[in-house]
Subunit: 338 residues, 2 copies
């Protein structure tokens, strides 16, 4: 491979192969059949391209075609089991389609989110998956204006189709299981607790709603509002809430539903020190999955979000070409009940 400083273009290849630029382009980007190029010519072009170490400049190509061959997904953060499994599934489906899947996180910063999406659009990404955006509709508006296919993931929007986890279903099923397991003692008032999540978070709202309705269905009553601690997605908040509950009740609540593994970390710090007998008659659940929770000394039922299912559904919708519908598709999470 000749190592000239300047990168080879189709013109260089054309010259070396004694062909024209358009012929070279056709050979090199596989529009083979359209122009019925002679095998011998193709051969020569390929050889020349190889010898020159030719790589196509996709910015030039994209400028011409208004495409890029890349598809993008934005997520709030990388460093999270659920979002990173969305990323992983995204990559799987992109590879199947021979597209390059780039993912960028926006730290739940609305301005960063907006800027990032604009950047992505201005690079002509062929598709944008919007996961857990702070303002899905604003993002969707940008995509629509730029005429690029897009879909909401995890958090629904009203300006584009959305594929989300069925948080209500999952939390309801989990809560019903816990109430069932805890038995009649759980029917006494103030014996069902909910910890974690953010009041402003759609997913939290859905899970809490499910918890409350499951409580009504199972006990005939709404849970005591003092037992509901929607105090955030962090371990400390979880620990504090758990301590308050233990103090108030003098024992574990009969039913405990923790809204995330993050909050569960804090809860776990409290529970860890309890004697095993303290868990008798109580049922504990966590919305979200962590393998370490499967094998603690006390049983924890979990809801495992189906990241792969969500992304699969998203691509399915895209394939069907549901450009401007705005429906919400729910994907049921998996239950890991014990």
């Amino acid at each position: 491979m000749l190592q000239n400083k300047r990168k080879a273009t189709i013109y260089d290849v054309a010259e070396r192969a004694a062909a024209s630029a358009s012929t070279v382009a056709a050979v090199l980007n596989g529009s083979w059949e359209k122009r019925r190029i002679a095998a011998a010519t193709a051969e020569r072009v390929l050889k020349a391209a190889h010898e020159l170490g030719y790589r196509m400049n996709r910015q030039a190509s994209g400028l011409r075609t208004s495409r890029s061959g890349m598809i993008a997904m934005i997520i709030p953060l990388h460093d999270n089991r659920y979002f990173s499994s969305l990323s992983q599934s995204f990559e799987l489906f992109a590879r199947e389609r021979k597209l390059c899947p780039v993912v960028v996180s926006t730290l739940r910063d609305p301005a960063e989110e907006q800027r990032t999406v604009e950047t992505l659009i201005s690079h002509n990404m062929d598709l944008l998956l919007i996961a857990g955006a702070t303002d899905p509709d604003a993002v969707a508006a940008l995509c629509t204006a730029a005429d690029i296919p897009h879909l909401n993931i995890d958090l629904p929007g009203s300006a584009a189709p959305s594929v989300i986890s069925d948080n209500y279903w999952g939390a309801h099923a989990l809560a019903m299981h816990l109430f069932g397991k805890a038995g009649s003692a759980a029917k006494e008032p103030g014996q069902a607790a909910f910890i974690g999540g953010l009041p402003s978070d759609f997913n939290t709202q859905e899970r809490l709603r499910a918890f409350i309705e499951a409580s009504q269905a199972a006990t005939g009553d709404e849970p005591d509002s003092a037992m509901i601690h929607v105090t955030g997605y962090d371990p400390e908040a979880g620990e504090t809430a758990m301590r308050m509950i233990l103090k108030r009740l003098g024992r574990l609540p009969r039913v405990l539903l923790v809204n995330s593994t993050i909050a569960f970390e804090g809860v776990f710090r409290c529970l860890q020190s309890l004697p095993l007998s303290a868990f008798d008659g109580s049922a504990i659940g966590c919305y979200d999955f962590d393998p370490f929770l499967e094998h603690l000394q006390f049983p924890v039922s979990m809801v495992r979000q189906d990241a792969q299912g969500i992304v699969a559904k998203a691509f399915e919708l895209l394939d069907e070409g549901v450009g401007d519908s705005t429906g919400i598709t729910m994907v049921k999470p998996k239950l890991v009940l014990v």
Copy 2:
């Protein structure tokens, strides 16, 4: 904002602002001072651009300048605590520099890796961080040919500077701590075990080497090779290895070092069922961090990779412009000893 179908270009803006394309470009991309543009003109341009909903086409811009405003990092997988924290740190540093940080995983598939990097390069990424590539040098060669700044992360290469975790240091410190804690009983032969990792993996090799040397330093002897189970990065392998060790010894080894949280999952399944007294006189460590391991009923010392430190160092090197050095920079992990 006028909503014509065709996207506005600088020419549209120029026309509306009664200015020329070059003036518009200068105003819009901040090369303000270079051309000393009249405030009034700038005003008009900005207004027109806003009214037309102008967004710059970065493919066109990039085609002209051979840059893109995006920087990329490739990682083996998203769905992993360590790699996803690298991604997160990467994003942090990119944002500081007003660059758009895209991350792409390549599933440890050499062909995919190669293709991905070529794609990224052909889009003129301004920088490429190569994390845990199967063939760092091949990737680096592509970057060098394309004249794009690049750096190895996590796994060293010989064709570009590398910033990696100091696995030897971390594992040695951890092992020494465990031997110290286990006391003289650990000096008996066959009382120190190592589980997890891959023989072909550089990082595993380093950790194992540290384990062996720490054993020599602490006990005067190499560990019994039957106690070394480098059987992979998955829970099942960890569980199997742990069972074999328990069977052979009839009890916990005095020193147990597990090579990853993934393997620890399996190990944990065995240890979970043991009575608390079984842990007396044994010291357990895990190379890698998981918050749930901090609060188990038995103590687990951990090594926590300093993802942020690694990425910080990488950007530092880049800022210094160490284009063609090929040295290896080690970043010490954090010790979480109990």
